[in-house]
C-alpha cells in the first residue's frame, strides 16, 4: 500500500477529525480517528508501509493541532512501533489486539499531551484528566475500533490483494 496514497486518505481523515469527530465529545474526551485507523493499518499483515502512514498521519494532525509540533507524530510512531512489535511476535491476530494497541496508543498520546501542557506551565489535575478526558476518549476510540478494523481489512483485501495476500 503506497505511502503516496496515505496523503489524500489521511488528509481526509484529519479533516473529518477536526470538523466532525472533535465536535462530538463524550464528557470532555474525543475520539482519535487517526490513531484508530493507523493502528488498524499497522496490524494488517504484509502492510510494510505502516511507518510511512504513521508519519504522514502524525504530521497532518500536528498541522491542525495547537499542541507543539511533533507531539502527535511521536504518539503515532510509538503506537505503530507497539503494533508492529506485536505483529512480529504474535502469529494470529484478533480484534482484541486492535483494542490493546488503541488503549496503549491513547495512553501514550494523552501522557505526552499532559506532559507538554505541564512543561508549558499549566498544571492539570491528573484525576480530573483521567476521569473527564482520557477514559471517555478511550471509550470512544474503542467504539470506533471495530468498524474501522473491519473496514480497513476489507479495503486492503479488495484493493491491495498482492501485498496483503502475498
Amino acid at each position: 500500500m503506497s505511502v503516496i496514497l496515505s496523503i489524500p486518505t489521511l488528509g481526509l481523515i484529519a479533516a473529518l477529525q477536526s470538523a466532525v469527530v472533535s465536535r462530538l465529545p463524550l464528557n470532555h474526551g474525543t475520539a482519535d480517528l487517526m490513531l484508530v485507523l493507523l493502528v488498524a493499518i499497522a496490524l494488517q499483515k504484509r502492510v510494510n508501509t505502516a511507518w510511512g502512514w504513521s508519519i504522514v498521519g502524525g504530521l497532518l494532525t500536528d498541522f491542525i493541532s495547537g499542541l507543539p509540533f511533533g507531539i502527535f507524530t511521536l504518539s503515532y510512531l510509538g503506537t505503530t512501533a507497539l503494533a508492529l512489535a506485536l505483529r512480529k511476535r504474535i502469529w494470529r491476530f484478533s480484534f482484541l489486539m486492535q483494542l490493546l494497541v488503541v488503549l496503549s496508543g491513547t495512553i501514550i498520546s494523552h501522557s505526552l499531551s499532559y506532559l507538554v501542557i505541564f512543561l508549558q506551565g499549566t498544571s492539570l489535575d491528573l484525576r480530573t484528566v483521567l476521569q473527564t478526558v482520557t477514559m471517555p476518549s478511550l471509550v470512544l476510540n474503542f467504539m470506533l475500533s471495530l468498524p474501522i478494523f473491519i473496514l480497513t481489512r476489507d479495503i486492503l483485501e479488495q484493493f491491495a490483494p498482492l501485498e496483503y495476500n502475498a
Binding site: A19, H28, S65, G66, S113, L124, T128
Partner: protein
C-alpha cells in the same frame, strides 16, 4: 265478449279501475306490497352493481395502478426535494439569526472593526480548547486579535495561515485573562480548565463579589480590549486564611455550539515580554 260491452264502456271501466288503483296507492294501501316487492329487487340490484364495479375496476386497474405508481414516485421525489429545501432553509434561518445578532453586537460596539468568520473545526486534542476559523492573513487577520460572538468574548487568534486561523477559547486550560467584576470594579484573573469551566482567581479578599455580578475584560496586560463582557459570577469561594477569593463563572458564550464568530481587527495586542525581567537577571 267484445260484442256484449261497447267500446266506450270498456274505456270507462279501465279508467275507473285506474283511478281506483291510484286512489288506493295514494291512500297507502299498496305500501306493504310495494316493500315486499322492492326489497329483494334492491338487494339484487345492489349485488349486481357491486359485481359490475368490481369487474370494471379490475379491467381498468392496470392502467390506474401504473398512473398511481408514477404519481407516487413523483410525489416522493418532490417530497424529498421539499424536505432538503426545508433543512437548507432552517440552516439559513439559524445562520441569519446568528448574523443578525452579530450585526447588532457590532452596531452596539462601533469602536471596533470586525471580520466575520465561520468555525470550520476544532482542535483534535481534547486537552486544548481551540477552534479553527475560515479567515486568515489574506483577510487581514493577525496573531493576538480578539474573537467575540454576539454574546461576548470567545477567545483570541493564536496562529494564522493564509486562509485560516486557530483561536484559543477562553475556556482553554492555558488561558489567563485580566478582568474586572462589575459593579464592584474589583480586578481578577480569569482562568480556563480542562473541563471547559472558567474560574475567577486572585480576587482581593476585601472585594465585594456576589453571584450574578458581571465579568468584563479590564484591558490590563494589553491582550484584550477593555469592556467586553465575558460572563457572570455563579458562586464565590472565600477561605479564612487565603490571600484571595475565587469564583465560578458562567460564560456568556455557548462554546459547544459556536458556528460564526467576529474577529476584532483594529486591536493591536501589546507585547509586554521585553518589560518582564528574565529569571536570574539582576
Amino acid at each position: 265478449m267484445n260484442n256484449r260491452f261497447p267500446k266506450s264502456y270498456r274505456t270507462i271501466a279501465i279508467s275507473l279501475a285506474a283511478i281506483g288503483i291510484l286512489a288506493l296507492a295514494l291512500s297507502g294501501t299498496f305500501t306493504a306490497l310495494s316493500r315486499w316487492i322492492t326489497t329483494p329487487l334492491i338487494a339484487a340490484q345492489t349485488w349486481i352493481s357491486n359485481q359490475y364495479r368490481g369487474v370494471d375496476s379490475f379491467l381498468s386497474a392496470s392502467q390506474d395502478i401504473q398512473k398511481i405508481r408514477q404519481q407516487n414516485t413523483e410525489l416522493q421525489a418532490e417530497n424529498a426535494r421539499m424536505q432538503a429545501q426545508i433543512v437548507e432553509l432552517q440552516q439559513q434561518l439559524v445562520e441569519l439569526k446568528i448574523l443578525s445578532a452579530l450585526l447588532e453586537f457590532a452596531r452596539a460596539n462601533p469602536e471596533h472593526q470586525y471580520i466575520g468568520a465561520s468555525v470550520i473545526g476544532r482542535d483534535p486534542s481534547p486537552f486544548l480548547r481551540y477552534i479553527i476559523i475560515n479567515r486568515g492573513s489574506d483577510d487581514g487577520l493577525r496573531r493576538g486579535m480578539p474573537v467575540v460572538t454576539q454574546n461576548g468574548l470567545a477567545g483570541r487568534v493564536v496562529q494564522v495561515t493564509a486562509n485560516g486561523a486557530r483561536v484559543s477559547l477562553i475556556t482553554d486550560p492555558v488561558t489567563r485573562i485580566n478582568v474586572r467584576v462589575e459593579p464592584s470594579r474589583s480586578a481578577a484573573v480569569l482562568t480556563g480548565s480542562i473541563t471547559g469551566d472558567i474560574t475567577l482567581e486572585q480576587i482581593p479578599q476585601d472585594a465585594d463579589v456576589q453571584p450574578g455580578n458581571l465579568i468584563l475584560t479590564s484591558g490590563l496586560g494589553g491582550n484584550y480590549p477593555p469592556n467586553i463582557i465575558v460572563g457572570q459570577v455563579t458562586s464565590v469561594r472565600t477561605r479564612e486564611n487565603a490571600l484571595f477569593q475565587s469564583a465560578s463563572v458562567q460564560p456568556v458564550t455557548d462554546f459547544s455550539d459556536l458556528a460564526i464568530v467576529l474577529v476584532i481587527t483594529n486591536f493591536e495586542p501589546v507585547d509586554l515580554s521585553p518589560l518582564i525581567p528574565e529569571s536570574g537577571s539582576p
